[in-house]
């Protein structure tokens, strides 16, 4: 029973007054109960400006009247949802912007490039009336297609069947000449439920069109079998078939045919398909395709039918909405049989088909607004743990997934807390516990990008040349190290530059995810990743806020003093926190890789989580190449002097031009690379003595100062030895060697003695062996 108008909701009644006020509305009828929709509706008459010469006739060429009745349906959920808008049932449906709907339902204008409910909430009913009035007037003056916005693709009713294809590729096949091409097509067809079979169409179709052309030949009918197959399962068929792309010919003056008239979708069978193809200028190509197919199929002995796809490539006068191309692909499908392919001739049913872009690098990059592709194939990512997997997936979703991913580990249940991938339901979670590299690579592959997975321990490359060549072939330009493993970092730094030109881009989290680090090696890998990390420690030490977080957390000393990595068992932080850093790092990585070839110096980024727990504050540091100093007494070891330390040494020497001076070296030792890295220097104590031929480093306060420094960095940075100046360009003196032996004797590990001369640096290596030889 329908409610009487007495029950007409007051909310709607108020809005009726508003409709009445709209200048384009001539009259608003009495609200009525709409049985079909089970809600109230009202008819409003809109005044439409027709083109001037049509005003007398009262109807536009396209069939829009000077006064148009519009039905506004107020859904039961009104005003949570906007009113639905229907035009009179005989309103012409040949317009671009008409919602696809059943032929027996009244036409519904598509008045907004967006969600009508959203507009309704944002700007109210009035703006909907404005949109509607404009739509009607544009329809009357044939202005619905706006060249700036783009060509509106033909609207299709109730598309149930969708196939995917690389649309950019198909468009690229629409050349100036008319032609037809056959492409591989893999399908899945299944029966519709019995009560859902209108239009003589018993099945649904899904599938994918490939980019390879199928070469059909009548000479080898049996060869056709590779193209056509059917594997029936329960009410379902999977198989192979072909897709035809028919492209337009020339117009009467020999120019490429342009279909500049919007045509509504009317195809139901072969006859109407040809009629439509004629409007698009494709009928000759289509005919050629079918006759060739028929010729090829004539001798094929097959007693089944398969679906084929027919795509009409339509050339429009300007680009399509949201696309840069003016080629509209209008797809259909039909069932063909053998040997006579069209079982019912011209009456063989043809169904409109939805065509969607396959996931592709281009699609992903375009949606990520990445204009230029990175040379993703030249990027290798090491470490597919929580941070690495997130970076890999971020990159891949932007269409630039790394070409290779490496990890030595396997996923385990606790990884589910922070890894970018998700475990799937399965027996005993065994699917989940596979190699991390393989899991990440298959995720990247699912985004249509080729990625190689390597289950390998990168730390072995130092002594395994074959492994090194396998993991990092010459084409690799960037290695993203997300392992947070010092061993891996050392191994990477150990490989000589001439054997591995790729620059290492390091990413790591520290201090329970409160500090992030990202670094990129300089040209010729100087500064290299170890130098940068040592400098990062120095910078962390110098930063009053970061220092306690990284070096002085309770328990920091128990697991890797340097706060290394997000080793998952030790660092207990949330997935969101890792993502917070991973997201901004990925943004940075994309930029760094783009600029890499132009960048000479090394770069270091330190990110700090602010106290609000939300904001990240990144600081960028440029790192000049380090000076590599050979040892006078050892060919294997080197001293690497950071620019910061070098500048302090220079300043000190210029203060004492007539006497020797010196100080204490601070930094880190790398055993594997056999180097001292000098991050900083400490001034000589006050009891030091500076003379023309000699410098005596004093002791006053030194043990305390060094101890304090080491403590502040949790022994990450320490004393490396001493430096002093020579006024003339000569190497270490006998006195220097004597002192070196003394230093060596008192220190368990090796030490360095750095000498600054007008001729550059010289080095002396001091370790126990020196003591023994002296003795």
């Amino acid at each position: 029973m329908s409610p009487s108008s007495l029950e007409f909701p007051s909310g709607i009644r108020r809005h009726l007054n508003l409709i009445q006020q709209h200048p384009r509305v001539l009259e608003v009828g009495t609200p009525f109960w709409c049985d079909n929709e089970q809600c109230f509706a009202v008819i409003a008459e809109f005044e439409i400006q027709l083109p001037s010469r049509r005003r007398a006739a009262g109807v536009s060429r396209s069939g829009v009247r000077g006064v148009e009745p519009v039905t506004l349906i107020f859904p039961a959920s009104y005003p949570l949802h906007a009113p639905k808008i229907y035009l009179r049932s005989d309103f012409p449906r040949t317009f671009a912007h008409i919602q696809p709907g059943r032929p027996d339902a009244p036409p519904e204008p598509c008045i907004l490039d967006g969600d009508l409910d959203e507009l309704f909430h944002a700007q109210g009913l009035w703006s909907i009336l404005n949109q509607l009035a404009d739509w009607l007037e544009k329809a009357a003056c044939d202005r619905l297609i706006d060249p700036v916005q783009g060509w509106e693709p033909v609207r299709r009713d109730n598309l149930e069947d969708i196939v995917v294809a690389d649309l950019g590729f198909l468009r690229s096949q629409c050349l100036r000449q008319p032609q037809h091409n056959f492409f591989f097509f893999e399908y899945l067809k299944f029966l519709k439920s019995k009560d859902d079979r209108p239009h003589n169409k018993p099945t649904h179709l899904n599938g994918q069109i490939g980019n390879q052309k199928a070469k059909l030949s009548p000479a080898r009918p049996e060869g056709l079998r590779q193209y056509f197959s059917r594997d029936p399962r329960q009410e379902m068929w999977v198989g192979k078939s072909i897709a035809i792309l028919a492209t337009p010919g020339k117009d009467s003056v020999g120019k490429p045919y342009i279909a500049s008239q919007y045509e509504a979708e009317t195809v139901t069978d072969i006859q109407s398909l040809y009629a439509q193809a004629e409007k698009y200028g494709c009928e000759q190509s289509l005919e050629n395709a079918f006759s060739w197919l028929e010729k090829c199929a004539r001798k094929l002995l097959a007693n089944f039918s398969v679906p084929i796809v027919v795509i009409l490539g339509v050339r429009r006068p300007f680009h399509l909405i949201g696309e840069s191309s003016n080629i509209e692909l209008v797809p259909y499908w039909l069932e063909i049989s053998f040997p006579q392919i069209l079982s019912d001739g011209e009456a063989t049913p043809v169904f409109p088909l939805g065509l969607q872009q396959t996931v592709s690098e281009d699609l992903l990059r375009s949606f990520s607004n990445e204009p230029e592709p990175l040379e993703a194939k030249s990027i290798t990512l090491i470490g597919c743990g929580s941070l690495g997997s997130k970076i890999a997936i971020h990159l891949a979703r932007a269409g630039q997934g790394p070409g290779t991913v490496i990890d030595k580990g396997y996923l385990s249940p606790h990884n589910a807390a922070r890894h970018a991938l998700l475990p799937e339901m399965g027996v005993m979670q065994l699917d989940w516990m596979r190699p991390k590299a393989h899991a990440v690579a298959s995720a990247i592959n699912s985004l249509e990008q080729q990625t190689k997975a390597l289950l390998a321990d990168v730390s072995q490359i130092g002594h395994d040349r074959e492994l090194r060549k396998t993991l990092f072939p010459k084409r690799i330009k960037t290695i993203i190290n997300a392992t947070a493993s010092i061993t891996v970092r050392e191994a990477l730094a150990q490989v000589p530059v001439h054997e591995m030109k790729a620059r290492v881009l390091e990413t790591a989290l520290f201090a329970q995810g409160q500090v992030g680090l990202m670094s990129l090696e300089g040209r010729g890998r100087n500064p290299d990743t170890l130098d940068l990390l040592a400098l990062a420690y120095q910078l962390m030490h110098d930063d009053e806020e970061i220092r306690p977080l990284v070096f002085q957390q309770p328990g920091a000393a128990q697991y890797n003093a340097t706060g290394q990595g997000c080793g998952s068992l030790t660092m207990r932080i949330s997935d969101a926190r890792v993502s917070q850093f991973a997201a901004s790092m990925t943004q940075g990585i994309t930029g760094l890789i783009r600029e890499q070839s132009a960048q000479n110096i090394g770069l270091l980024f330190l990110g700090k989580l602010e106290v609000d727990g939300i904001s990240l504050n990144w600081q960028r540091h440029e790192v000049a190449p380090v000076q590599v100093v050979s040892m006078d007494n050892n060919v294997d070891w080197h001293i690497r002097v950071s620019d910061c330390a070098h500048q302090k040494i220079l300043a000190e020497c210029s203060k004492f031009p007539t006497v020797e001076t010196g100080g204490i070296l601070l930094g880190r030792v790398s055993q594997s690379r056999q180097s001292f890295f000098v991050t900083d220097v400490m001034s000589a104590p006050s009891d030091s003595k500076r003379m023309p031929e000699k410098f005596i480093l004093g002791v006053e306060g030194v043990p305390e100062a060094v101890a304090e420094y080491m403590e502040a960095t949790n022994n990450t940075l320490y004393c490396l030895g001493t430096w002093h100046s020579h006024l003339r360009p000569i190497g270490p003196s006998a006195e220097d060697y004597k002192t070196a032996a003394v230093i060596a004797k008192l220190q368990a590990m090796m030490s360095a003695m750095l000498i600054y001369t007008p001729d550059g640096y010289k080095g002396v290596f001091a370790d126990r062996s020196m003591v023994y030889s002296n003795e």
Binding site: L18, S52, R54, N130, A133
Partner: protein
């Protein structure tokens, strides 16, 4: 692309832009009031509205293909020197609009200067027109962009003899627009009327605001005659009578859109004064007929202030009524550029040209304030 015609809201004055389907821009008159540049003034900023609609040339300068000056009254050329470059094109600064080709009538200038002192804008325009004509005389070549000119109508005493391909004679069609053959518009020169041998008649023509009168037949949307547009500056009654005598119901007077002469002035339709006769002035049949050759659904545009029911002229309510008789007869509309729907900001009045004539591009309706505040602030509200 469809062709467009745009009338800018310039009160009593003319400023009309034709955009052809090939993108060429023909600007007829300007009335950019100084106060349009002043933020504190509510006069619409027509200079900005114009600039938005103009393309840039290769040097990044805005330009019009053609600027046509109907006659040198201030309300038809105000702001010209300030916003347009007048001089050698090479010296055009980036903030000025370059005029690629000028359409000018020395005859109209001569008649105008008999009765009024030319404004600085008019003088600057005249100097520029002379520069371009002299350039042609020296080189005998159609100039480059910024040097081109067409002279509309022959002047007295053979002054325009030997101008050959830059001279457009009365009744002739303008075949070249901005130096290139043009098929997107057929432009027919109907005025100024030629110099009379009789001093009296010449005096009458001068007093009747001799103006360039042009009939444009504009192609759009695949139709060669999508729109016929008749415009005639401030030409007054005698001139329209003569045109009616000469052409009668010839297609050259027929229009889909008419710009009412002289901002809907009574003097274009009658020899008598509207104010003096208390609204009982007689209409000249000839002049009215000349301006009543409307095609079905035609628009008549008064480029003027809002038209009130008073003694004012122009715009004149009596003239409006005469034009409305015509538009009613053909199912068309009369629109005044000064009339604004309540609460709307002044916008250019734009038409897109369809194969079936003109489509008025209407602005969206701003939502009535009453939705939000009802009567508050609109009237005193007593509270007990």
């Amino acid at each position: 692309m469809k062709s467009q015609i745009t009338f800018f809201p310039v009160d009593n004055g003319d400023m009309t832009l034709i955009t052809l389907e090939n993108g060429k821009k023909i600007l007829i008159d300007v009335n950019i009031r100084g106060r349009a540049d002043d933020d504190d003034d509510d006069a619409p900023d027509v200079a900005a509205m114009l600039r938005q609609r103009l393309p840039h040339d290769a040097q990044g300068r805005l330009y019009v293909d053609v600027f046509l000056l109907s006659h040198p009254d201030q309300d038809h050329c105000r702001g010209l020197a300030k916003h347009f470059h007048l001089g050698e094109p090479g010296s055009c600064p980036n903030d000025k609009i370059l005029i690629s080709e000028i359409w000018s009538s020395p005859m109209v200038f001569r008649r105008a200067s008999r009765h009024l002192t030319l404004s600085d804008d008019a003088k600057a325009f005249n100097a520029e027109a002379k520069r371009r004509v002299n350039l042609f005389k020296q080189t005998r070549l159609i100039g480059d962009i910024g040097d081109r000119i067409l002279v509309l109508g022959e002047d007295e005493n053979g002054k325009t003899d030997n101008l050959d391909q830059i001279l457009v004679k009365l009744d002739q069609q303008i075949h070249h627009v901005n130096g290139a053959p043009e098929t997107a518009v057929h432009t027919r020169l109907l005025g100024p009327l030629p110099p009379s041998e009789f001093e009296d008649e010449e005096e009458t023509l001068s007093k009747n605001n001799s103006s360039v009168i042009v009939h444009f037949l504009i192609a759009s949307d695949g139709t060669g005659d999508a729109c016929a547009f008749l415009t005639g500056g401030d030409a007054e009654v005698v001139i329209w009578e003569k045109l009616w005598d000469k052409y009668g119901e010839h297609p050259w007077l027929q229009y889909d859109i008419l710009q009412t002469p002289h901002h809907c002035s009574w003097h274009s339709l009658s020899h008598e004064s509207w104010g003096d006769t208390d609204g009982k002035a007689h209409v000249s049949l000839g002049a009215r007929n000349a301006l009543a050759q409307a095609k079905t659904g035609a628009f008549v545009i008064a480029s003027s202030k809002p038209i009130e029911d008073d003694d004012n002229d122009p715009p004149c309510i009596g003239a409006k009524r005469e034009y409305e008789k015509t538009t009613r007869r053909v199912g068309g509309s009369f629109i005044c550029t000064g009339d604004l729907p309540q609460g709307q900001k002044a916008q250019p009045l734009s038409f897109e040209l369809d194969k079936d004539g003109l489509c008025l591009i209407r602005q969206s309706q701003p939502s009535p304030k009453s939705i939000f505040i009802g009567a508050v602030g609109r009237q005193p509200l007593a509270h007990g």
